[in-house]
Structure formats: C-alpha cells, structure tokens
Amino acid sequence: MASRSPEARALDLLEQAMGQPSDHRAAWISRQKAPAAVRERARALLDGGADAALVFATGGAPRKAGDGPLPERIGAYRITGLIGQGGMGAVYRGERAAGDFEHTVAIKVIRPGALSGALIERFRRERQTLARLAHPNIARLLDGGETEAGEPYIVMEFVEGRPLETWLGDTPGRSERLELFLAAAAAVAFAHQNLVVHGDVTPSNILVDPDGRPKLIDFGIARPTTSEAVATPAGRAHSLTPGYAAPERLAGLPATTLSDVYSLGRVLAFLVGEVGDPELRAIVARATAEEPAARYSTVEALRADVVAHRGGFPVAAVGGGRSYVFRRFVGRHRLAAGGAATAAGLLLAALVVTLVANARAEAARADAEARFQQTRAIAGTMLFGVYDEVSKTPGATKARETLARTGLSYLDALAADGRAPLDVRVEAGRGYVRLAQVTGSGQGAQLGKFADSTALLGKAETVLRAAYAEAPDDPGVRQAMGDLLLEQAGQNLYNNNEIALGRKQTTEAQAILKPLATRDAKTARAYATAIQTEGDSHGWDGDNARARPHFLRAEAFIAGLPPALRDDTEVMKARSANLRLLAEAQHLLEDDPAAILAMDRAVAINEALLARAPGSPEITRKLALSLWYRAVVLLATGRTAEGYASVDRSVALMRGLRARDPEDRGALQTFAIVGEVRAQALAELKRFPESFAMGREILAAHRQIVARSGGSAGARRSMAATLKTVGGNYYNGGAFADACATWREARGVYEELTRDGALTGYDRTNTLPELTGWMRGGCDPPRPGLKPIV
C-alpha cells in the first residue's frame, strides 16, 4: 500500500468510503488517517460525481458510440441531414414535398433503450398535448410516430434561428431585449394556460429567428417524471441547466408553473445583465425568490410587471411605497412636470393617489386571475393526469385517496367563482364527475365510498346544469353533461338501487349524446354505454325481455362504427361490457347458443385488450368477468367441464389482482362474483370440500365489501344473493345445518333491505320466495329432502 501513488490511495480511500451509508461518506473520509492531500482528493471525487452513476451506466458504452447512417425516411419525411445528436437520440432535418413548396422540419428520434417503457408512454402522451400548442413563439409540434424499429419520434417545426446567447452578441438595445423577453414569456404563459409546463426554460432553449422573434423549443419532451428522476447524494436533479432551474427543482420536485416563473426570471437577468436598473433587479428578485410562494404567482403577473417597468409605471415587485410611485410618475412626465412642480402640487397628489389605487386593483385582479389559473392547472393535472398514472400501478390505493382529497379542495375553489367563464365551469363540473369516479361510483378501481361520490355528483350537476342551460349546443357542455348523467345513472342503478331514476338519466344521456355519437371514440363510447345502461336498468329489475333490445341496439351501434372508432381501446371495453349484459339477457331468456356466442366474442375482445396492455388490472378484471360469465352459461347448459375451466382461470386472475392490491374494492368485488361460480361448479362436480372452502372465502370478501361501502344497499343485496347460493352448495353437499344457517343469514339481509325500501322487484318476486321455500322444505330442523339446488 505504501508504494501506491497518492491518486491510487485517494481511490482506495474513496472505495472504502463507499462501504459507509451515503450521507456519512464525506465525514468518514475526513476522519481517516491519510495525508491531507489524499483525503482532500477523495473528498473532491466524492463531491463532484453526483451524476457519475448515470453517465457510466452498466453496459452504457455503445449508447455513446453508436449512431447509424442517416435514415432515408422517417414517416412521411425524407431525411436530408443530421442537425445534431446527444445521449438520447438524434435530431434530423427532414423535408416533405407539399404542393409546390418544400416543407422543412426537425425530427427528433429517441434512441432505443434510452427511455423506459413508462417514459415512452409519457413521451407519446406529451406529444398529443404539445400538438395542440399553436403559438407563434413556440416551435410547433407537427407530427409524431414510431420508426419501423419502434423508436418514437416527433416532428417539429424547423426553426432557422440562433440561440439567445448568440443573438446577444449583436448587442441588441434594451427595449429589444425586453420585447424579446415579453414574447418568450407570453409563450410560456400560453403553455401554462394549456396545462403544459416547460420545465427547462433556458437561453439555449430560446431561439431567435431571422426576424428577431423568439421561439421556444424543447417543450417538456421526454422530461422524466419525478419518480424517474434519480436523487443524488448532493440532492441535485439532472439535466437542469445550472442557474436556471428553481431551487425546488434541484431538490427533486416536479416542474410547476412557478418553477417556470423562476427560470424566466433568470432568463430576464441574463438578458438585461445582473446589475441593471434597480427596478428590474426587483422584478428578477421576485421572480427568482427562493420560496415559490414568494414569486409572481403566474408568468402573466411577471410579464405585467415588465410591461409596467418598460412603460414607466410602478411595478408590483418594488412594493408600491408612496415616494417610489411618485418618483415613477415624475420620471415618466419629466418634461412636463419640470416647470410646474409647485403649482401642480395638489393635482399631482391626486394623481398619485389614483395611480396607487389603480395599481392595487390591478394587482388584486392579477392575483385572482393568477390563483385561478394555478388552481385550474393543478386540478386538471391532478385529476386527469396524475390520477390515471397512479391508477395504473396496482397497490396505489392510498396515493389515489390523497390525490382525490387534494383535488377536491381545488375544485371547490373553481366552482365557487360564479364569474368564471363557461369552459372553466364545465371543467370544474367534469372535475367533480372525475372525482366521484375516483371515490367510488362505476366499477373501476375505486376506494369504495359511495356516499361521498353521490355528493360529488350533486355538485357536478349544479355546475353543469347551469352551463347546459346557458349553452345547450356547445359540444363540450353536452359531452360533460352526458358523462355526468351516465355516472349518476350508474350510481343510482348499481349502488343506490334508485332504478327508475337511473333509467331516466340514461334516456336523457342518450338524447344529449346522440348528435355527437359518431364524432369520436369518446362520444361513441359514452353513447353506447348510455344505451347499454338503459338496458341494464331493466335487467337490474329482472325484466330481460325489455333489456335485450337495448343491448342488441348498443352492439349494433358499435359493430357499425368505422373501424377507427370500433377498434379504439375504450370502445372495445364498452363493447365487451355490453356483450356480457347481452349474453346475460339471452341466457335468462333461454337462448343459450346466442349467449355463448356473445361471451366468446367478449372473451376474445378482452384477450386482445390484455395483449395491448399486459398486466393491466382493469383489463385483467374485465377478462376475468367475461370468462366468468361464459362459465355461467356453459354450466347452465350442462357443459360443466368447460365451464369449470373457464371460471377457474377467472378466479386465478382475480386472486392475482387481489394479492397485488388488497385494498382495491373493485378487485375484491369481482373476486367474490367469480369465486361464487367456481364454488358452484365445484359442487356440481361433487368436489364439495373445495366448494365449501371457496364459499367461505367469498363470503368473507362480501362482508369486507359491505363494511367498506358503509352498508350500502347494493353491497348488502349482493351478499344476500351469495349467502343463498353458498347455502345451496352446503345443502347439495349434505351439510344441512351449515346450509340452513347460511340461508337464515340471507333471509335476515333481505328483511333488512325490505325495511329500508331497497328490495328490488326481482328479489321480491323471485329470490326471496325461492329462499323461503327452501327453508320451509329443508330447515327447522335441518334435513335432507329438497331436490338438488341449482
């Protein structure tokens, strides 16, 4: 060791330090017995290398080495050159002949393996968001897709421009610089209004075109989410241009509108020089305040101050002291004020007061506007972006709950503002509907709190009815209204047992959605679902003959859609659900061949969907349900072995889902449903011990569901039906005492439902009489004698 060079010894020391917890390493090195130079060198290596792990990734060398030859074409574009390349991919110059002029574009291709699957998905979605951002100061996103090799790419407007740094080399005048800043900031503000945060506003991301106009480039493309960001020992996030990224970003928090404000503040400083005018310094200081809350609350507010400064008006950043405002006034009217200073004293004072008052009103208005935009952005991102993202992860129930709660406070703030424009109120209404879905109507992955979601839908109705009355022909309003009615109908049918009310809502939803029905996949799906739900309102009431035509109508509607709509994932999901209900009606109306046909189709659709999204909890559940119902029909037609195989696979799928997220009520409920049929199939195959065990498992699941739903009628009704079935299995297996105890419990639940006025027609005319009949024939005391129960 003694013969090793100081550099090698520093490496030895550094290596030993790696055995320490990461936050103790520096101190550990300082404590070691080694020459000071060796220790200092080891410390320097440790402190400087926050990004080393990213730069030297395992097997990372080829990424640095390789670029292929120029591709000939990407999408519809002929490649004419390489603009540049970096670790993540390359930027090409492409051309496309359109009419008689050549259209030049910049095409970014992400190198395979440079992004994880989740990031590629995000890249695709951001591409869609960005395509809507049409602004003269934003490099327009024109197109996107995937190369044949599967590399995602985007096609951007080709900006013939220079980076801001180079432009400053021409020494533009002060007003030109401010003008340029205001235009760039307007582009960022525009993006914010469209719920897009830039995330990396820097001088090199602002190009100046030959006419001196700024263009923002690199809008949030492939900007990883925080979950992907790697926390480093030094706490520094990556790729953020030093000096331009807000402190909270460096601490690893996601980009927000306020971090863009910070970056713009830095860009302003860059443009006007750090030691400029005291007023500009104040503006920069406010924009770049350490604490996000102390900054301008929007880019617009920052711009307003720069405009005020340019025009010689008081700026908010300075704080509006009287003498300051007065100075500004004199400065602006220097020529006029000079001669008449004393004579005009009174008039001046009056003017100052007016100016101050105006500034205050202006500030208040800007603040309200700012808060409003902020709220809207946050609510939108939270409920539509983040929530969906989180929902894809099994086991994230707690996170979803937190998001939902936070989202509500923002929505209330939005809805409370009666002067808000129509689209904003509609947005708030949609937000409530969304939140209601999240907290537990519908059948998706939810938190199982029916009561909360009913109240939320009520809030949505208040907001949206008013909007609909005001603008009945607005498609956005119609769509939001249709979605609300569907959600309410679903909740009334499935959770609240308000069947007549639910049905009324489905017919109203159909009428509202019909003019939009074939406009896009979303509206097609909503319309089909409205028809289906009307059918289901009859089915839920035991009237299959009335239900069937609606299901057939929905199936015919979807089957007749153009392929682009028909094969849309969401439409396929709706179709599968409707096929399942159609099969149920066919089966109950004793047309089993038609029922099996419908279920085969539904299973095939869900297999195709699962192939599109392997492992997805939602699709897994749908596939499990279609397998389950196919089993039901097969069992009923005596094809017991096939039926058992189908339902056994279904139960296995649901067991897997439950294990992944024990708190997911949807998974629990589906497990209970499919498990019940497996228990029956086992009983039919005379595998009674297995059947009884399955029965106990699903009853435990039902008790959990009832408890979690706060004792809702729908949940109790499901449990009663299961008790009845499980009792039948006991009876068929010769366990008469167990059978009678289970039936007694079922009858108790039905009696409770009757007292609450929540017994359905079907239960009154079919279920309950059958149950009491069995109990008369086989219980008190428990005894054999009934025909096998099916």
């Binding site: 290596e15 060398a61 080829p62």
Partner: protein
C-alpha cells in the same frame, strides 16, 4: 471466423488465463476479436435487431463458443470479461472510423435527465480509462467489464476473485474518478 479457431488453443489459453496469465488472455483476445468486431459493427450499422444490447451480443458470442464446445459454461464469466475488452476496442474503432468521414455536426442535447459529461465522447472516455489503468489497472478493468461489457457484479467478482461487495465499491469509486476526469477543465 470461429470455426477456424482450434478449440485446443482456446482451452489451453483459457486455463492459463485462469491461472493468472495475462499473456494468455491477450492471445485469446486476438483469436476471438475478429468475431466480435463483426457482430458489433453489424449491430451498430443497424443490420441486426437494433434493440440488441451489449449484454446480448456478448452472450451470443459466448453461446456460440459453448455450442462449438470450445469453452465450458463455468468459463462464462471469463469470456464475458474478454468480450468486454473486445467491445471497448470495437466501439472505439467504430467511433474513430465514423469521425474520419463525418461532417462537423453541432452537438445537441436532447432534453433528458441524463447528462453527457461535457459531451465527452467515447474516445475521451477511452483515454481517461487508459489513464486510470496507469494508476490502478484493476479498477480500469472493472470499468471495462461493467461499462463496456455490461457485466454483472457477480460475474466480475468471479473473474477478479474478489467479493461482490468489493467489486461494487471499487466500481463506484472508479466511476467517480472517471466522471471527474471527464469534466471539461481536464480538456
């Protein structure tokens, strides 16, 4: 290319290398290098499946050798180490060849969270690694195996007859050193 290699040669050289004979390693390298450069060049030209990773490439080469009964499965780690050295050379040669006939591009950074250290290119990494080898040969070899060869810590540990935790710490330290060595102020 592989078919022409006499398996006896490979076995003898491999045994010698496992005893610690670095000359034997270099001889093995010469014998097998041609095979790998062909595969690597093909991969980089995009003739093969573009998603093929270095690991895949190395494993494929090794599998070929195993199939040809030239090496035993337990020699796998050693061969991976060998192919890491090959990979390094192949990539650097590729980059050099490319540099000879490329037009001057502006280097641009796509927005990512993954920085290119001062846009250091592979040749600079290669030179820095040579400097590291002068200070500490074994650490440079670890970088070669891990960064160029995509090898797992456990396999590197077999080759170097070290514990996995030692290899891991040594890799982390070497990585920090290289990172610092590639900062722009070092030219």
């Amino acid at each position: 290319m592989l078919e022409r290699v006499r398996s006896d040669d490979v076995r003898v050289l491999l045994t010698a290398w496992r005893r610690g004979d670095r000359v034997a390693r270099d001889r093995l390298f010469d014998i097998l290098y041609g095979e790998l450069t062909q595969s690597a060049a093909a991969m980089l030209r995009g003739e093969r499946n573009v998603s093929l990773s270095v690991g895949d490439l190395v494993h494929e080469t090794i599998l070929k050798l195993i199939v040809l009964e030239q090496i035993d499965w337990q020699d796998r780690a050693h061969f991976m180490a060998l192919t890491s050295v090959m990979m390094r050379r192949a990539l650097v040669e590729h980059v050099r060849a490319k540099g000879r006939n490329k037009r001057q591009h502006q280097k641009v950074e796509l927005k990512t969270n993954i920085p290119d250290v001062g846009n250091a290119d592979l040749e600079e990494v290669n030179e820095a690694l040579d400097r590291l080898a002068k200070i500490d040969r074994e650490r440079a070899e670890i970088v070669e195996m891990r960064y160029f060869g995509g090898m797992e810590i456990a396999d590197i540990a077999v080759v170097l007859k070290l514990s996995e935790s030692t290899v891991k710490r040594r890799w982390q330290a070497a990585r920090l050193w290289l990172y610092e060595a590639l900062q722009p102020q070092h030219g």
